[in-house]
Symmetry: C2
């Protein structure tokens, strides 16, 4: 750990600054220390799709890290003041060769991300917006909260829209629909009261 820390740089980013942009080339591993980072893609037509949000402890950069000639395909933007630990490819490879257990950990993390991404693809491909929204809410319920939990949305509704592959207008309407059905209540400050989680999950017609 000490040896790793010795090789790592810590970088600070202000809200709105980018760790990297699409098409840029580098080969560092980025580990978020403090703050929040939005990872998103832009289509040719300029529409953005939110890929994921990095919180402290999360990392990114694996694409260019493990594929020497690759360039970034995503944008990584700090959405608040953020500090990030950077390790260069060369050093990462050293550590992985020296401590194979770290590779196993990394492989576990990567396979989780892959699973989650493939699930996301399948959902966007075949489920309706209301179903995707319900599943999104269910995924964001803290496990130990029982069947009638209150959750805090982990991102702005416009970001939920982007993440779910739809528009803010539609998300707004679908939240309204769920509220009209008595399945949720929208409280202040991104908080949502779920009346009955099972009922909510059943609603995905």
């Amino acid at each position: 750990m000490d040896r790793i820390a010795g090789k790592a740089h810590t970088n600070h980013y202000q809200k709105g600054e980018f760790l990297f942009r699409s098409q840029e080339k580098d080969d560092a591993l980025y580990i978020v220390n403090r703050g929040k980072v939005r990872i998103y893609r832009l289509s040719d037509s300029g529409k953005e799709q939110l890929v994921r949000i990095l919180n402290p402890g999360d990392f990114t950069g694996e694409w260019t890290l493990f594929n020497p000639d690759a360039v970034h395909e995503e944008y990584a933007e700090a959405t608040r003041d953020t500090s990030v630990c950077m390790i260069q490819q060369h050093d990462v490879q050293e550590f992985l060769k020296e401590y194979p257990a770290i590779s196993l950990k990394l492989l576990g993390e990567m396979s989780q991300r892959l699973e989650s991404s493939e699930r996301q693809t399948a959902q966007v491909a075949v489920e309706s917006v209301i179903t995707r929204l319900v599943l999104f809410l269910a995924e964001n319920v803290e496990p130990e909260m029982g069947n009638s939990p209150t959750i805090t949305l982990p991102m702005a509704k416009k970001d939920i829209a982007s993440y779910l592959g739809t528009t803010p207008e539609t998300i707004s309407r679908k939240f309204g629909e769920l509220e009209d059905e008595g399945l949720i209540q929208q409280l202040s400050g991104k908080r949502i009261k779920i009346q009955d989680l099972d009922d909510l999950l059943l609603y995905s017609e």
Copy 2:
């Protein structure tokens, strides 16, 4: 290599047999030797989404392999007579600890798959069907074929539909549209003649 081969089993599957099904639990790594395997997901409502096709040399099983308590979320079905090399988790971990270079190779492969999956999510989320189809065709052009290539579709059109998150009917119509525009010609036996690759890519209104 010899040592790995010693621990590996080779299994044979007939067309239509499953290497594994969703919700099943196991912890093997599957490497395709010969044949072809369809990996797909089923939604609650029974719609299928094709995740990818495994050809000789490709592997799967990483999700349950690196996440001890996980169950499969996908179906792996042989679409022709197929032989598969299986290695148990325990043995995989041994090898990875002993030969760290293999881990790096695996991490490279996994990050490619992750990149590809995230690209796929973004496309399904924000692009129209015709755009997705055009991008799919472009991805399947052999690089060294110049600007007016003939390609062979790597799967049935119904599978393309499932992969792109749409229906066979719509795919059929979109192929027709591209043909009416003079951008492609549909030849016999899954072969497609592309008139001009650049024009085709520009068509994605």
